[in-house]
């Protein structure tokens, strides 16, 4: 009894999610991305041509702290949406597929509560995935390259400690970026008992959104696409930090959460659970 017992389901959800082999496989794959980038650059780097700045990837040879940021940039368009799509698409459909959905509801978990806990699990995964890339990138950078003060896009130079903070800030930005996609995955997941279908649909939508965002003919649509601000974290690499894009992104993602959350609730609260 008592209100604290209400949190047990969230704890259970997180422990089930992060004890799954699949979750670990995805996190390990994500951790491998910065390591591969760092190793590849280390093996193939050559001195910068005089008169021209270093290439985008080659920047990291000057300062290992760039590995994390570079890896995050590489992961945002596909790898992160891929793994988030798997977790978010699995939320309700996965339980239905295993037959555990009916037993959770009979416990009774409560439909709204279950939906919230499932979404919270997906959010935790978004954070874990982004943090994994950032941490693995930082580690690979420190091991393979020299580390020193970082020059920002605004020309200012910040200390190593400050740059770690900036990396965390970028990880937070990307985590927020993925919340809308997670809400879309949750919504799709309430419509099917086949988790793979929900996962695939979520991932496809993330690609479609990015493709549409690159079509100049659809410029009116761009501000409404959930992937519109996905790569907009450059503002966090200026001095002083410009919070405009962070704010715009957060508002956009919040709108997606509100709309998809409401639709998911409308769908799930009346759904006949026949699985």
């Amino acid at each position: 009894m008592g209100s604290s017992a209400g949190w047990a389901l969230l704890g259970s959800e997180l422990s089930v999610l992060f004890r799954r082999l699949r979750t670990w496989a995805m996190l390990i794959a994500l951790a491998a991305v910065p390591i591969l980038i760092a190793v590849a650059v280390k093996l193939s780097s050559r001195p910068a041509t005089p008169g021209r700045g270093p290439l985008f990837l080659d920047r990291i040879t000057q300062n290992g702290l760039f590995v994390a940021v570079t890896a995050l940039v590489v992961c945002v368009p596909l790898f992160l949406p891929l793994t988030v799509g798997v977790v978010a698409g699995d939320t309700i459909a996965g339980e239905a597929n295993l037959g555990t959905l009916r037993y959770l509801l009979l416990a009774p978990a409560g439909r709204i509560r279950l939906l919230l806990v499932k979404y919270a699990g997906a959010v935790a995964f978004c954070f874990a995935a982004t943090a994994t890339v950032a941490a693995s990138g930082a580690l690979a950078g420190v091991v393979l390259f020299p580390v020193g003060p970082v020059t920002l896009l605004s020309g200012d130079t910040i200390s190593v400690g400050e740059s770690a903070l900036r990396s965390l800030l970028i990880a937070a930005y990307i985590t927020v970026s993925l919340l809308g996609l997670s809400a879309i995955g949750l919504l799709i997941s309430t419509f099917t008992d086949v988790p793979v279908g929900a996962m695939a649909a979520t991932i496809v939508l993330s690609v479609v959104s990015q493709v549409l965002d690159n079509l100049p003919q659809l410029e009116w649509l761009h501000p409404w696409l959930f992937s519109h601000h996905w790569l907009g974290f450059a503002d966090l690499l200026r001095e002083p930090v410009s919070w405009t894009s962070f704010g715009e992104n957060a508002v956009l993602q919040a709108a997606y959460i509100a709309v998809c959350g409401a639709l998911a609730y409308a769908r799930f609260s009346n759904k006949d659970v026949l699985s």
């Binding site: 604290s4 047990a8 259970s12 082999l21 555990t100 659970v273």
Partner: protein, 351 residues
């Protein structure tokens, strides 16, 4: 049998449609508190759909449902903690252990005390004989073990009502016996048990009340004895003079049937029904259980319908006609015959 006042489950005009087809077509269930209620019906007759609606997994198209005296689905959140359920087979996380699965499902219930969680899970596993496999991943469980785990989940907390959908599915005979014993002990402790099954023998052995579904309708319900006695009784005559006895019984208005091994072509409605529809089922329990080996050259002759006669009058008539009566029994109709006459079709035919 103690029977506290009130009904554990009550429905009025419950209808559940899938598209245009009514899976449950206006049923009025009345399950008395403290009873072991057998919910019988062929596959596809709407049993599981009814259970889903009772437990709020699916919504009804029309009708009222009351569970433990409260209106559903409005009072779902306050009723479900007192209800343990096994619905359409077990459903578990294959990558978690038996203990892990139960801890997870118990955590989903916010009324369940987390302080006693491990202990309750341990006790429940112990009760269904799964202690030795508690740490094993469910992936490695057999169907019978999963079924036991499902029962353990239903008993994680003391419940007022247990709803068990085909609880002995996949269990070996030993497991089936254990489930029966478990259900009886729970019922003895005051829990109402609502158990659906398509196995008549199972229901006949453990239930006090029965409801029979056929094609979405509840065609009969009531105490088991009442339902059974509403069928026709039989007499079983053991005698070497089968043909003469049959003649006497026919004259008395009974309908003689074929005894084991007589080879003659007597028939009765009951036998016709059971042999035509269930070739695999023994013709009559009495023949299967006490065949005429004990009485050399005597054959069993079964006749239905006492036609208002006293058993001793029948025996007197047989003896008066020179029939050597070596055994005579009167039996009430088996539930199976009653069932066939109610559902009117093959037992495993999807309605």
């Amino acid at each position: 049998m103690k029977e506290p006042a009130g009904l554990a489950i009550e429905t009025q005009g419950l209808v559940k449609r899938f598209g245009r087809r009514a899976a449950v077509d206006g049923i009025n269930l009345a399950v008395p508190r403290g009873s072991i209620f057998g919910f019988l019906g062929p596959n596809g007759s709407g049993k599981t759909t009814t259970i889903r609606v009772l437990l709020g997994l699916a919504s009804a198209n029309s009708g009222n449902v009351r569970v433990l005296g409260k209106e559903m689905p409005g009072a779902l959140a306050s009723v479900l903690p007192d209800v343990g359920a096994l619905v359409e087979g077990p459903g578990f996380y294959p990558f978690l252990s038996g203990t892990g699965n139960l801890l997870r499902l118990d955590a989903a219930d916010r009324h369940a005390s987390s302080a006693t969680r491990r202990e309750r899970v341990h006790d429940a596993l112990d009760r269904v004989g799964l202690s030795h496999a508690a740490g094993k991943k469910v992936r490695a469980y057999s169907l019978g073990m999963k079924q036991r785990l499902g029962l353990a989940n239903a008993m994680l907390r003391p419940r007022e009502l247990l709803v068990l959908d085909e609880p002995t599915n996949g269990l070996d005979p030993q497991g089936t016996r254990e489930v029966r014993a478990l259900v009886r002990s729970l019922a003895a402790g005051g829990t109402t048990v609502f158990v659906s099954s398509h196995l008549l023998a199972e229901v006949e052995q453990m239930c006090t009340h029965v409801g029979v579904m056929s094609a979405g309708r509840l065609v009969a319900q009531g105490p088991l004895d009442e339902l059974r006695s509403s069928g026709e009784a039989h007499v079983v005559v053991h005698t070497p003079d089968v043909e003469r006895a049959a003649g006497v019984l026919t004259r008395l208005g009974l309908v003689p049937g074929q005894g084991a091994g007589t080879g003659s072509s007597w028939d009765s409605r009951a036998l016709q029904a059971s042999t035509a529809l269930h070739p695999s089922i023994a013709l009559h329990p009495s023949m299967a259980l006490h065949p005429s080996i004990a009485l050399p050259e005597a054959k069993a002759l079964v006749a239905t319908g006492l036609n208002g006669l006293a058993p001793e009058a029948i025996v007197a008539a047989l003896v008066a006609d020179g029939v050597r009566v070596r055994g005579f029994t009167v039996e009430s109709a088996s539930l199976e015959e009653r069932f066939v006459s109610l559902t009117g079709e093959g037992f495993d035919v999807v309605g």
